[in-house]
């Protein structure tokens, strides 16, 4: 880290416009060689655009890039790779039906005979694994690899292609706390061997724990660049959002939870190939409480939400919702669930909660299109629907306030606010929320939390599923931990520690 060493990456005066959107405003980024450099900012702050410019997906309208002190032109990903820039995307770019080894050599086969090629690649990779500690079983199909291994494989893939500068986009979004710690160990090791790492994230704790320098972006421009020693979480959050934010816990009115509004018992779900996805799930939701479901993604939380909201019929179990009871022979369906006052904010905004090709007003009535208020006989009451959408946008500060804009044109946070406005607006008695703030800006997170707390205080029974422990800790009154389709433990919020929950999540005992 000698001061005389050339900068690993120097982006200067980068300008990038998409139509009217000025995504990068005169951005200058200096990444010192052999450091971990954090790049933080809200969604839409321009981080991804900037990295896409560096990785050759976009060309900047203006500006210059220098890598290792040499000015370069990067027109596509191949150019970037040739310059030693590697990128690990948030959504892994791996072929599920190929082995780890085959994925690494895909597109970079050293020989036209696969046997020879894989022998060469295997040799190099094993040496690489040895020196970096990125342990992956090379002969396992990617489909069978755990998420943490896939991530390591992505990093290996970039290193194998000669990456000296590694861009990681939200690498910990899918990892358990323990896996995150392991990843950070590896990244520190890589840095000590001279690799430069650019970490795109919104988790400020991770920035503080891992990075050497941090750049904060807001509204397309760099607002701060400083060594980590001079940074604080509060300060970074404030400069990201542009105002003071409170992400911590806010206690509800201290009255005890009320009557049980939803009660499930013995829920068991098998998938198409008879693998057990949920087993022995019993839980109850009371009026006026927020129950948090903690767990690593893929441990049955999605199936649980689907079962409780009527999207999935379990193979066994029973459910009581208000005064009505259901068995697998006649499970509730989404329309019945809505009629009984159950609202569901699904985990997957893009696939479930909104129809991306619909105008906002069409998405804002999804599932409620047959309410009398929204109908004129068989016709859609267009006027009342757009008016209701405009009201939702006003109440939940959805921007832009344009009910005719396509749902896909809103940012993630605004989409989520629209979905919440739709579901909360029906004054549900039971509210199921999956990943309430996935891909949502810090400013909006604060707002969403306050809305969920307001629902609880109004006597709604709220179930929050989240893979972010901080979120569970900030919201829940009671925490249920899921692991491999079972309830691994249930704790009052007062008894929760991050370490204890992390252990339960991975199958240990608290």
């Amino acid at each position: 880290m000698a001061e005389t060493a050339p900068l690993a990456v120097h982006m200067q005066g980068i300008q990038k416009r998409f139509g009217a959107v000025h995504a990068n405003v005169n951005v200058t980024l200096t990444v010192r060689s052999g450091t971990v450099h954090g790049l933080v900012g809200e969604n839409g702050a321009g981080k991804s655009t900037l990295m896409s410019v560096l990785y050759g997906f976009y060309r900047a309208d203006e500006g210059a890039i220098a890598v290792n002190g040499r000015p370069v032109e990067i027109n596509n990903a191949d150019d970037a790779i040739a310059l030693g820039i590697g990128m690990v995307h948030q959504h892994f770019m791996l072929v599920d039906t190929l082995t780890a080894l085959e994925n690494v050599m895909l597109g970079a086969e050293p020989h036209w005979l696969l046997g020879k090629a894989s022998a060469t690649v295997r040799g190099k990779l094993e040496a690489l694994i040895q020196s970096t500690g990125l342990h992956v079983n090379l002969d396992t199909l990617v489909a069978d690899l755990p998420v943490g291994d896939r991530q390591r494989l992505e990093i290996l893939k970039a290193l194998y292609r000669g990456a000296k500068v590694l861009i990681l986009d939200e690498p910990t979004a899918v990892l358990t706390p323990q896996e995150t710690l392991q990843l950070f160990e590896v990244l520190r090791g890589l840095r000590n061997q001279g690799t430069t790492i650019i970490l795109i994230t919104h988790k400020l704790k991770e920035v503080m724990g891992l990075c050497d320098f941090v750049t904060v972006m807001r509204a397309g421009a760099v607002v701060q660049e400083l060594p980590i020693a001079e940074a604080t979480i509060e300060g970074l959050a404030e400069s990201m959002v542009g105002r003071k934010v409170n992400m911590g816990r806010v206690e509800g009115s201290q009255r005890a939870a009320g009557e049980v509004l939803l009660e499930a018992s013995g829920i068991e779900v098998r998938d198409a190939v008879q693998v057990l996805r949920l087993s022995g799930i019993a839980l109850s939701l009371r009026a006026g409480e927020i129950v948090g479901i903690a767990g690593v993604s893929g441990n049955g939380q999605s199936e649980l939400l689907d079962v409780l909201s009527g999207l999935l019929t379990p193979s066994n179990g029973a459910l009581r919702l208000g005064s009505e009871s259901f068995t697998p022979a006649s499970w509730l369906d989404p329309q019945t669930a809505r009629r009984l006052g159950l609202a569901h904010v699904p985990e997957d905004r893009h696939a479930r909660a909104l129809v991306m090709a619909f105008a906002a007003w069409e998405s804002a009535v999804l599932g409620y299109e047959n309410l009398p208020h929204y109908s004129d006989g068989p016709w859609m009451a267009h006027g009342r629907m757009t008016q209701a959408t405009a009201d939702m946008m006003e109440r939940f500060d959805v921007r832009p306030r344009n009910p005719s804009l396509l749902s896909s044109k809103f940012s993630g946070g605004n989409q989520q606010k629209l979905v919440l406005a739709r579901e909360l607006g029906q004054k549900p008695r039971v509210l199921l929320v999956g990943q309430p703030t996935r891909g949502v800006d810090i400013g909006a997170i604060e707002f969403i939390y306050s809305q969920l707390r307001a629902m609880r205080d109004a006597g709604c029974a709220v179930l929050v599923v989240s893979s972010e422990l901080d979120e569970i800790l900030a919201l829940a009154d009671r925490v249920i931990v899921m692991n491999q389709g079972r309830i691994a433990g249930e704790l009052a919020i007062a008894d929760c520690t991050e370490a204890g929950l992390g252990l339960l999540m991975t199958g240990g005992n608290a």
């Binding site: 139509g19 989404p334 329309q335 129809v355 991306m356 090709a357 999804l366 299109e369 016709w379």
Partner: protein
Amino acid sequence: MSAPVPMPRWADLVLLPAVCLLVALLVAAAVVAMVGQSPTEVISALVQGAFGTLRGLSYTLYYATTFIFTGLAVAVAFHGGLFNIGGEGQAVMGGLGTGLAALFLSHSLPVWAMLPVMLAAGVLFGLMWAAVPAYLQAYRGSHVVITTIMFNFIASSVLVYLLVNHLRPKGTMAIESVTFADSAKLPGMHQALAWIGVEWPASPLNLSLVLALLACVGVYLFMWRSRAGYRLRAVGSSPSAAEYAGINSRHQTLIAMSISGALAGMVGMNEIAGVSGKLILEFVSGAGFTGIAVALMGRNHPVGIIFASILFGALFQGGAEVAFDVPGFSRDMVVMLQGFIVLFSGAMTYVIAPWVAAALRFLPGARHG
């Protein structure tokens, strides 16, 4: 089918199809020049033949009528997330229904009762023919693209079988039914216009054009104004979101294909009730497939489909005139021209789209995509 390239809406709806058409014409012009003909002469003969006279225009609109029906059929299925390749077979069966109704009832029913019965029979036959593949897809997982293609062959064989073995009058060689009674004849446009005192040359153009335009209005209202159409589009755009909303996608598959088949089944009103006056072979002659190109070019919207139908109608009519007028220019060249238009406005649209989008970026006024 929205463009993957960001582009203002007007460009996607108007500019892009126009550019595609232009490219197709340029390529076709190059081929015409290569075979030693003058492109300008051919194109002016084509335009003149299609639009230059009232009679030519009538023929253009007559062809367009059939394409509107089959284009709408493809579009409705498409909005439901289904690719209905079976417009051809559904039109054949619809025409068969229309024809059978006329054969059996035209001697006993007056015209005001006969025509609605023929329409209903055509709609019902087309609907049933599409409902079977729809059922197979919804409840048995057989892909609708495969089954509808197969159903095209079955439909045309059924028609041949019935005409050859049962409906053909004894002792005749022509494979066609007897002529219907007059009550089964849909009035021609020239007759209808004569009633209100407008003189119009005689042509195959008939009142089913009005039916086709009403069908466009109906499809628009259903698709974008009714709750049923909303649900259909929800399933077509995002099956998982529709499931979340509590919409049964199997029902929607049945509904989409039924409406699609019903629309294709109306082709018989134009060809059988409006023109031939008897059941014949080959009255659809590829219009079901042209409907795919029409829907593609018309962006699956009724207004676009009307324009695309007129374009294809003009190609059929103008092409026939060119083959007649320009010496040495065969009918095959016209088919080639149609092929280029289908290719460029259909399959190649998204090759051309990025060029148009790139060109637009240089226009200072267009920076609001």
